[in-house]
């Protein structure tokens, strides 16, 4: 089983790196970008012995506890 966890900063939380990048792009003549966000993707690949239910449970725990911090992040889980 292979899961993808996508972690992104919640709307309204400042992401200084993306703000800076957007300013730099604007300065270099790139126009029309309303918003620039950044998503981290983690791929969790499980051993063959682990069944799908268990794999999804573990993936959700790791995503919610370590990969994302619910205070600032939204995350989604997808089967690959």
């Amino acid at each position: 089983m292979k899961y993808s966890v996508q972690v992104k900063i919640k709307d309204g939380v400042l992401d200084p790196e993306m703000e800076t990048l957007q300013r730099l792009l604007r300065r270099s003549g790139v126009k029309g970008i309303r918003q620039l966000t950044h998503t981290q993707q983690f791929v969790l690949e499980f051993d063959d012995q682990v069944d799908a239910t268990e794999a999804e449970r573990v993936a959700r725990t790791v995503a919610g506890d370590v990969l994302a911090n619910p205070e600032i992040h939204d995350w989604t889980l997808d089967v690959l």
């Binding site: 939380v13 400042l14 506890d65 990969l67 911090n69 205070e71 600032i72």
Partner: protein, 231 residues
């Protein structure tokens, strides 16, 4: 040990940097015994009077500062100690860790201007519920910060809760003790430099009291907090 020494546990994760500074600063009084506890242990092997989670770059700040600490065995012992009312302080990366393992509300984001800042800051003591602050006499301390991820952030609801429960322990201020945007080095919400849990026994703060504590330091304001918890 047969003597009545106060045992203070100092937790050492891979990548922790300030464990020896904290041991030196907290261990100054004759009746205090500090011990380094590896994060690979799942207990403190005996009673402890207080716990320090020092600064540094645990696990290289990979994923997010403090995030990997959740996987360390010592975390279970920290939860138990927090429940039992043991005084716990997280300094800098220690604060980030306590937030990431959800012993404290909120999270520490990258500084407002994106850069590491090493600078002495003014700290206004807003609440003395933490045993590390109960004995602090002055209202303003001068203690340095040294971090890249020190911008305290929490949702508006959490902030209201913190205020209602008297959990905001320390705020950044200027030399005169005034809290202002100009005195806020990293953009923290509510100018917050330190918060406690609801019970008050767990404190997290970005500034480093152990860097204003030794006999050869020009400023010694950090000693107020050390003496407070060791009294």
């Amino acid at each position: 040990m047969s003597d009545p020494a106060l045992r203070i546990a100092i937790i050492d994760f891979h990548g922790t940097l300030c464990e020896r500074d904290c041991a030196a600063a907290f261990g100054q009084a004759a009746h205090v015994e500090t011990m380094l506890v590896s994060s690979e242990k799942d207990s403190f092997s005996g009673p402890v009077h207080a716990i320090v989670v020092p600064g540094g770059f645990s696990y290289g700040d990979y994923i997010r500062p403090g995030a990997m600490a959740r996987t360390a065995p010592i975390t279970r012992a920290l939860y138990a100690a927090a429940d039992a009312g043991t005084p716990i302080i997280g300094i800098c990366n220690g604060f980030q860790i306590l937030c990431e393992i959800r012993l404290l509300p909120g999270v520490l984001l990258k500084n407002r201007d994106g850069r590491f800042i090493c600078r002495e800051t003014g700290l206004r003591v807003q609440s003395r519920r933490s045993p590390f602050l109960a004995g602090v006499k002055p209202d303003v301390l001068r203690v340095p910060i040294a971090h890249k991820y020190g911008q305290y952030y929490c949702s508006a609801e959490t902030l209201a809760e913190l205020q209602a429960n008297d959990q905001i322990a320390l705020c950044y201020c200027d030399d005169e003790g005034q809290i202002s945007d100009a005195a806020n080095p990293n953009g923290s919400v509510g100018h917050i430099a330190g918060v406690t849990n609801k019970a008050g026994n767990v404190l997290g703060m970005m500034p480093h009291p152990e860097r204003r504590a030794m006999p050869w330091h020009a400023g010694k304001d950090g000693n107020w907090m050390i003496e407070s918890v060791c009294a």
